[in-house]
C-alpha cells in the first residue's frame, strides 16, 4: 500500500492509498462543514444541502444523477455530521473516471427551485421518521442539553420550523461560503492509478472557486451538568443519555478515550454489559466516544423498562464513578486492545473502510497513518494514559437526559466509587 497527496492550485487536496490487491476503489469528497457551522436561522441547511447535491447540475437532472451512479453499479451515498459533509462511492476499478465525473459534477449543484421544494418534503419526512424513534430523539435532545449554547449542540436535521422557513437563496449563500476548494478533500483507497486520479480531479475541480475557510467557536465544552426528564407518554421504554467531557480530535488522548469507551460500554464483556444487560435490567447499554474539533465527549446510554430507570441510573453512576476512581484493569485493557486490533484490521480490508479512515484523518489532522501506525497508537495506551485521561476529563461528570414514560426521576448525586461493580 502506498500513500499519495497532491494539492491543486485552488487549495483542494487530493489524497489516496493505493492497494493493487483490492477488487474495488472507494472515492470520497469530504467537505469540512456541518451543523456546527450553521446559524440558528439556517439550522439543518448542511444536511438539506447534502440532499440537494444529488438533485442535479446544469449537466444532469436529479434522475440523471441517480441513473449515472447506478449505470456503473456504484455503492454510493452521503452523510452529514456536526463537522463534515461527505459524498462517497465504491466502484469497480474500471469506472473510476465516471465516478469522479459524477461526484465532481454534483458538488456544484444547481439548487433549482422546484427540486428545492420537492426535497424539502423529503427532509420533513426524515424529521418525522426520527420523531417516531425515541432513542434518536433522546440523543439529539441530550446533545443540546450538554452543549447548551456551544454550536456542537446544533441539530443536524434542523426542525420542521427551520427547514420549513429555509429559502433556496439562503442555501446558495451557505454553499458559496462553505463549498470552496480549500474546504474540500478528495480521498481514494483501493485499486486505482494515482496519477490518473489526480488528472481526473484536476480536470473537473481545478476551476472551483477558492475562498477563506474557517470555523467559529472552536472551544472546549465541559457540559452543562443539567438533569432533564422529558416525559413522553406514548413512548414505551425509557431512553437515557449521560454525556461527559472528553478530549478533542487532535489530542493524543483520543486513543485512550476510544479504548475507555470500549471497556465501559462495548456490547460484550464491558462494565455496562455486566451491570445492566447480563442481569436483564436493560435492553440496551452503550458507551461511545465522539471527538470533534476543540472538544470531545463520551455518550453513555441505556434503554429499559420504565420501572427500572431509577435503579439503572444509580447503577450506571456507580459504574462511571468506579472507573473514575479506580481506572481500568490490565486485563480489561488487554481485551479492549484485541478487540480494537481485530476491528481496525477488518475495517481496513475494504476500500470503503480505508477511504473513510484516511479521509477523516486528513481532514482533522493533515496526517496519514498506515493501519499499523494506527494500531501502534492504540497499543501504546496504558493504564497510566487512561488515568491521565480521566483526571483531565472526568467520565462521571455527566449531563443527563431521560426520555420516555417516566414523569419523574431523582438525580443521582456523585457515585459511591468504593462499591463500584467489580
Amino acid at each position: 500500500m502506498q500513500f499519495h497527496q497532491h494539492e491543486l492550485k485552488n487549495g483542494l487536496t487530493i489524497i489516496g492509498e493505493t492497494n493493487p490487491a483490492a477488487r474495488s476503489v472507494a472515492l470520497g469528497f469530504f467537505v469540512r462543514t456541518g451543523a456546527r457551522d450553521e446559524t440558528p436561522e439556517v439550522s439543518g441547511v448542511s444536511h438539506f444541502l447534502e440532499h440537494m447535491v444529488f438533485k442535479g447540475t446544469p449537466n444532469r437532472t436529479a434522475l440523471d444523477v441517480n441513473r449515472d451512479f447506478d449505470r456503473i453499479g456504484a455503492h454510493y451515498n452521503a452523510f452529514t455530521s456536526e463537522e463534515n459533509t461527505v459524498f462517497y462511492a465504491a466502484i469497480l476499478p474500471e469506472y473510476l473516471p465516471q465516478a469522479v465525473d459524477i461526484l465532481a459534477d454534483i458538488l456544484r449543484p444547481s439548487l433549482r427551485h422546484e427540486d428545492f421544494e420537492m426535497e424539502k418534503k423529503v427532509i420533513l419526512e426524515e424529521i418525522s421518521m426520527y420523531d417516531d424513534q425515541p432513542m434518536w430523539s433522546a440523543y439529539d435532545q441530550a446533545k443540546r442539553l450538554y452543549f447548551a449554547n456551544h454550536p456542537l449542540g446544533n441539530s443536524i436535521l434542523g426542525t420542521k420550523e427551520s427547514i420549513g422557513a429555509l429559502t433556496r437563496d439562503q442555501m446558495q449563500a451557505y454553499f458559496e461560503r462553505r463549498y470552496v476548494a480549500p474546504n474540500i478533500t478528495v480521498a481514494a483507497a483501493g485499486n486505482f492509478d494515482w496519477k490518473r486520479l489526480v488528472a481526473l480531479v484536476k480536470e473537473r475541480c481545478g476551476g472551483w472557486a477558492a475562498g477563506p475557510v474557517g470555523r467559529k467557536e472552536v472551544r472546549e465544552a465541559r457540559g452543562s451538568g443539567a438533569f432533564e426528564v422529558v416525559h413522553k407518554e406514548k413512548v414505551v421504554q425509557e431512553h437515557v443519555f449521560l454525556i461527559s467531557p472528553g478530549p478533542p480530535v487532535n489530542s493524543p488522548l483520543r486513543y485512550a478515550a476510544d479504548t475507555l469507551a470500549l471497556i465501559v460500554g462495548d456490547d460484550s464483556g464491558s462494565r455496562l454489559y455486566w451491570a445492566l444487560i447480563d442481569p436483564g435490567l436493560a435492553d440496551t447499554a452503550d458507551c461511545s466516544f465522539h471527538d470533534y474539533e476543540g472538544t470531545g465527549s463520551f455518550y453513555t446510554s441505556f434503554s429499559c423498562e420504565p420501572g427500572l430507570t431509577q435503579k439503572n441510573l444509580a447503577l450506571v453512576h456507580r459504574v462511571l464513578a468506579a472507573v473514575q476512581h479506580d481506572g481500568v484493569t490490565e486485563e480489561e485493557l488487554r481485551q479492549a486492545k484485541s478487540k480494537i486490533l481485530s476491528r481496525v484490521v477488518r475495517g481496513s480490508e475494504r476500500p470503503m473502510g480505508r477511504m473513510q479512515a484516511i479521509g477523516m484523518n486528513w481532514v482533522y489532522l493533515h496526517k496519514y497513518r498506515t493501519v499499523d501506525e494506527e494500531l501502534q497508537a492504540f497499543d501504546a495506551v496504558s493504564r497510566k494514559t487512561i488515568r491521565k485521561l480521566l483526571d483531565r476529563y472526568p467520565i462521571d461528570q455527566v449531563t443527563t437526559l431521560a426520555l420516555g414514560p417516566v414523569a419523574k426521576l431523582r438525580r443521582v448525586r456523585g457515585g459511591n466509587s468504593r462499591n463500584g461493580k467489580r
Partner: protein, 423 residues
C-alpha cells in the same frame, strides 16, 4: 477471479465449507444450526431466542464470565441470532485467532451449561426486547407483515410472545436444546486467511463425535388473520406490503431478483424515483426479496406522514402492478451493473463470504461459483423478467399499516386489474 471453495461433510451429517482468501488478515466463521424460531413449540414462542442468549453463559470449562472473557481475548466481534430456520453463530477476528475461537464454539454448541440461575435474567432481557419493539415502528410493522403473509409458523418472529417467554423454565429450555441441537443440518462456513487441511482436521476433531438430536416436523398452518391495521399514535404511518415470488433455486430466481432490483435496486429504481424523487412522499421506501427453501416473497416498506400515507400506498401498489407491463433495457442494464459490482465487492469481505457459503449450501446443497452467478446476471433481459412477472408476478398482496388511521387498500386500480389485497 473466483477463489477455490472447499467442502467436507462429516460422517454425522455436519457440513464444513471454507473459502481461503489470501489477500486479507482476518477470518469469519458462520455456524447455522437448524434451531430457528419456526421450531419453537406454539406454547413456548421465544424459546430459541432465550436459548441463544443462555447458551453463551457458560460452556465446557468456562463459566459465564470466563466464556465472555475468552471470546473477548480473541478480539472476536460476534453475534448469536435466531432466524426462522436457523440459529446463527457468527464471529470475525484476526485469522490467527480462528482455531482458538473454534475450540470455544465447540464448547458452546456441544457443552453449554445452560445455568439455572441465569434463566430469570435471560427471560427478563427477552421480555424487555419484546417490549422495546413498541418504540421501533418500522421493525414492528415488518414483523406483523411476515406474520400475516406466511403460513404459521414461517412468519413467526424470533422475539416470541410474552406468554411464551414467561412460561419457560430451565428444564423446558434444556429439553429444547437436547432435542434439537444436532450435527445433521448444521453448517459451518469459514472464509478468510485460513488453510483448508488444518481447518478440516480441527473440525473433525471438535465435531466428529457429535451426535443426537432429532429432525423436528413443522406443520404449516394459516397466516395470522388479525386485522391489517395496527393503531398507534405516531407522526408517520408505516406501510408494509408483501407478495409471493419464487424461491432461490427456482429456474426463474434470477428473473425474480431482477424484478425486485428494477423496483428497488438503486436510487434510480422505480420506487425511489416515483415515490421519493418525483413526489417527495417519504424518506424511506424500498422493496427486498426474502426466500425460504420452498417459497419466497417480496417485502415492500414505506414510512410517510399520516396525511400523505394514502397517496403513498396507492402509488406503491400501482408501481408493483405496473411492473409486468414492461421494463426498459436500460433498467435491466443498471440492475446488472449493480448486481455485478456487489458480487465482486463481496470478495473483499470475509463476513459476507462466510454468510453466502452457508446460505447457498442450505438452500441449494452447493455453493454457486462466481462464474455461474455472473453468467446468470448477464443473461437477464427485459423479456425474461416480464415473462416471469406475468407467470409469478404480484397478484395477491398482504398489506399491514401502523399509524393513527387505517388506509383504504388499492381503490385506484382495483377496478381494472385482477389484484386482490388481503386485509
Amino acid at each position: 477471479m473466483a477463489s477455490r471453495i472447499y467442502h467436507h461433510t462429516l460422517a454425522n451429517g455436519m457440513t464444513l465449507l471454507a473459502e481461503p482468501m489470501a489477500h486479507v488478515r482476518s477470518a469469519a466463521l458462520n455456524f447455522l444450526v437448524p434451531v430457528g424460531c419456526i421450531y419453537d413449540p406454539p406454547e413456548y414462542q421465544g424459546i430459541a431466542s432465550v436459548l441463544a442468549d443462555l447458551i453463551t453463559r457458560g460452556a465446557g470449562p468456562y463459566d459465564s464470565r470466563q466464556l465472555t472473557l475468552a471470546l473477548d481475548n480473541l478480539g472476536l466481534d460476534r453475534d448469536e441470532s435466531v432466524g426462522g430456520v436457523h440459529m446463527r453463530f457468527w464471529a470475525a477476528t484476526l485469522a490467527r485467532n480462528l482455531p482458538e475461537a473454534l475450540e470455544i464454539y465447540a464448547h458452546i454448541l456441544r457443552r453449554p451449561h445452560l445455568p439455572a440461575d441465569e434463566v430469570d435474567a435471560v427471560k427478563a432481557l427477552a421480555l424487555q426486547e419484546l417490549q422495546s419493539l413498541e418504540d421501533e415502528p418500522r421493525q414492528k410493522v415488518l414483523i406483523e407483515l411476515r406474520k400475516r403473509h406466511y403460513p404459521a409458523p414461517l412468519g413467526q418472529d424470533r422475539r416470541g410472545t410474552r406468554e411464551g417467554i414467561e412460561r419457560l423454565t430451565i428444564d423446558i429450555i434444556r429439553r429444547h436444546y437436547q432435542r434439537l441441537f444436532r450435527p445433521r443440518g448444521t453448517i459451518l462456513a469459514v472464509a478468510g486467511n485460513i488453510k483448508w487441511g488444518p481447518l478440516r482436521d480441527q473440525v473433525e476433531r471438535l465435531f466428529g463425535d457429535w451426535d443426537g438430536g432429532e429432525e423436528p416436523v413443522v406443520k404449516l398452518g394459516e397466516p395470522a388473520a388479525s386485522g391489517s391495521h395496527i393503531p398507534k399514535d405516531t407522526t408517520q404511518t408505516q406501510i408494509a406490503i408483501a407478495f409471493d415470488s419464487v424461491p432461490i433455486g427456482h429456474p426463474e430466481y434470477y428473473a425474480a431478483l431482477g424484478a425486485v432490483n428494477v423496483l428497488s435496486g438503486g436510487m434510480s429504481a422505480r420506487l425511489f424515483t416515483e415515490v421519493r424523487e418525483k413526489r417527495g412522499l417519504c424518506y424511506a421506501v424500498w422493496a427486498t426479496y426474502q426466500t425460504f427453501k420452498d417459497r419466497a416473497s417480496v417485502l415492500c416498506y414505506a414510512g410517510t406522514t399520516n396525511e400523505r400515507a394514502q397517496e403513498t400506498l396507492d402509488l406503491i401498489l400501482e408501481e408493483l402492478v405496473r411492473l409486468k407491463d414492461g421494463i426498459a433495457k436500460e433498467e435491466v442494464e443498471r440492475v446488472q451493473a449493480g448486481l455485478k459490482s456487489s458480487l465482486i465487492m463481496q470478495e473483499e469481505s470475509t463476513s459476507a463470504r462466510a454468510g453466502t457459503l452457508a446460505s447457498d449450501w442450505y438452500y441449494l446443497g452447493r455453493v454457486r461459483t462466481f462464474d455461474e452467478i455472473q453468467a446468470a446476471i448477464d443473461g437477464l433481459t427485459p423479456r425474461k423478467i416480464v415473462a416471469h412477472l406475468r407467470r409469478h408476478g404480484p397478484r395477491r398482496f398482504t398489506l399491514v399499516t401502523l399509524g393513527p388511521e387505517p388506509l383504504r387498500p388499492s381503490r385506484r386500480f382495483a377496478a381494472d386489474t385482477p389484484v386482490v389485497v388481503e386485509s
